[in-house]
Chain length 214, copies 2
DNA sequence: GGAGCGATAGGTCGTACGGCCTACTGCCGG
DNA sequence: CCGGCAGTAGGCCGTACGACCTATCGCTCC
C-alpha cells in the first residue's frame, strides 16, 4: 500500500487530505505542520511519497523539498500551493518537486496525482509543461537560478546595497569603486527597470523579486 | 436542518468542509469561490449561516462579510483565516463576523462552532476574548481603524504617493498643498520611521505594512 | 580583428532632496 | 485657557541625485 506523508500547517486541510487518501486506499503514515517536522518525519517514517504545502512556518515547503530531495533523491514530492504562480513552480521544480498542484484542485485530482506520481509517472502533465517551457526558454539544463532579471549581477549588487540603506558614495566605498561608476550603474538600472529614481528602482526590483527586502 | 453556505476559493477545502458538515447533519446549500459569488448566493439561497474564508479573489472575505452583514444583519457569518492575526480578527468583528476560526482548527471544531453559532450563541468564546481585549485596549467602541502606524493619516497618504512614483512637487500638486509642506511631512516621516531618505522610508513602511506596494 | 557589452571612470549641469529653522491656524485634552 | 500636536507654509543651504556626454579596458562572439 502506498504510504504517504502529509505536510501542511493547516490542520483542516490535513484532515481533509487524510480522509480523501484513506478513502482511496492510500495510507497516511504521518502529518507534519511545518517544513522542519516534515524533513524529520521523512527520515523517521520513510514514506513512499510526500504531499507538501508551499507555505509553512519554520521551514517553507520549497526549502523542505530541497532538503528532503537531496537526502532522498528517489522520494517523490508533490507540492500544493494556494495559487499557481509560475515563479513558484519553477522554484519547486529546481528544489526537486515531482508534481505541482494548486489548492483549487479537487480531492480526486490530488489523490489521482499522488497515485500516478507514486506509481512512477515521473512528472505530472502540468509540471511537464512548466519544465518544457523552462527548457525552451533557457536552452539548457536547470541552472541554480535562471533569474529572468534584466539587470547584470553588478547592477543587482548595487541596487541591493541601495535597498539596504546605503547612499551612492557608501555603496562605492563598499564595492571599492568610484561613486561615478555607481551612478552610471544606477542610470542603467533606471533605464532597464523603467524607474526614474532609486526609490522606484528598488520597488520595481522588489516587485519582480530580484532583490531581498531586509 | 441547518443550511450553510461555504465560501472559499480553494475547492480542496470546500470539499473537505462540505463532507465534514454533511457527516454532522448540516446541509451545505451552496459553495462560492469568491466574495462576490458569496454575496450573490446569500441573496439567492438564504442560508442559515455562512462560513467564509478571509482571503478570496474578486472580493475578499472581510469586505464580503461587511456587505452581507449590512444586507442581512441577523445572518451569522463564521470567518476562516490562515493564521490568527489579531488585526484581522478586529477587522472581521467590525465587518460583522459572528465567529472566527483559523485553519489550524480541526473539522470538529469548525462544525461545532458553526452549530453553536447557528444555534444562537452570539459570539464564540474565542471571539469574545478578542473583543474584550479590544475594548480594554481602546476604552471605547470599535474605531474604524486602530492602525498601530506611527505615521499620521496625512503622512501615510504622502508616503503612499511617493511609493507610487511621484516626486515631491507632484505629490504637492496631487494634494493641493505646497511642495514645502510635503517636504515637512517627509522629514517627519523620516524621523518616525528612522529612515534617512525616501527610499528607506518607503521600504520601512512596506515592511510594517502601512503602505501598499503597487 | 572588429563589434558589442559590462565595468570602470571622468566631466558638467540643473535641480531635487534633506537638514534646520520660524510661523500661523485649528483642534483636542488637561 | 493654555499646551501640544497636526497640518499648513516659507527661507536658507549644502549636497546628493539624475541626465547626458566621452573614454578606456577586457571579454566574448562572430
Amino acid at each position: 500500500m502506498t504510504r504517504v506523508l502529509l505536510a501542511d500547517d493547516h490542520q483542516l486541510l490535513r484532515q481533509a487530505l487524510r480522509r480523501a487518501f484513506e478513502d482511496s486506499g492510500v495510507m497516511v503514515v504521518g502529518e507534519a505542520a511545518d517544513g522542519e517536522e516534515a524533513t524529520r518525519l521523512v527520515d523517521e517514517l520513510r514514506p513512499d511519497i510526500v504531499v507538501m504545502d508551499v507555505t509553512m512556518p519554520v521551514l517553507d515547503g520549497v526549502e523542505a523539498t530541497r532538503r528532503i530531495h537531496s537526502a532522498w533523491p528517489d522520494l517523490p514530492i508533490v507540492m500544493l500551493t494556494m495559487h499557481g504562480e509560475a515563479e513558484l513552480r519553477a522554484e519547486a521544480v529546481r528544489a526537486g518537486a515531482a508534481a505541482f498542484l494548486t489548492k483549487d484542485s479537487s480531492m480526486q485530482e490530488v489523490v489521482a496525482t499522488v497515485l500516478a506520481t507514486a506509481a512512477g509517472e515521473a512528472l505530472s502533465p502540468d509540471l511537464a509543461s512548466t519544465i518544457l517551457a523552462e527548457f525552451a526558454e533557457t536552452g539548457t539544463t536547470l541552472p541554480p537560478r535562471p533569474a529572468e532579471s534584466p539587470l547584470t549581477k553588478r547592477e543587482e549588487e548595487i541596487l541591493q546595497h541601495i535597498a539596504d540603506g546605503y547612499s551612492t558614495s557608501e555603496v562605492a566605498a563598499k564595492l571599492f569603486i568610484s561613486g561615478k561608476t555607481v551612478k552610471n550603474h544606477l542610470a542603467s538600472i533606471y533605464d532597464k527597470l523603467d524607474a526614474r529614481d532609486r526609490t522606484q528602482a528598488v520597488l520595481s526590483a522588489v516587485r519582480i523579486g530580484i532583490i531581498r527586502i531586509a
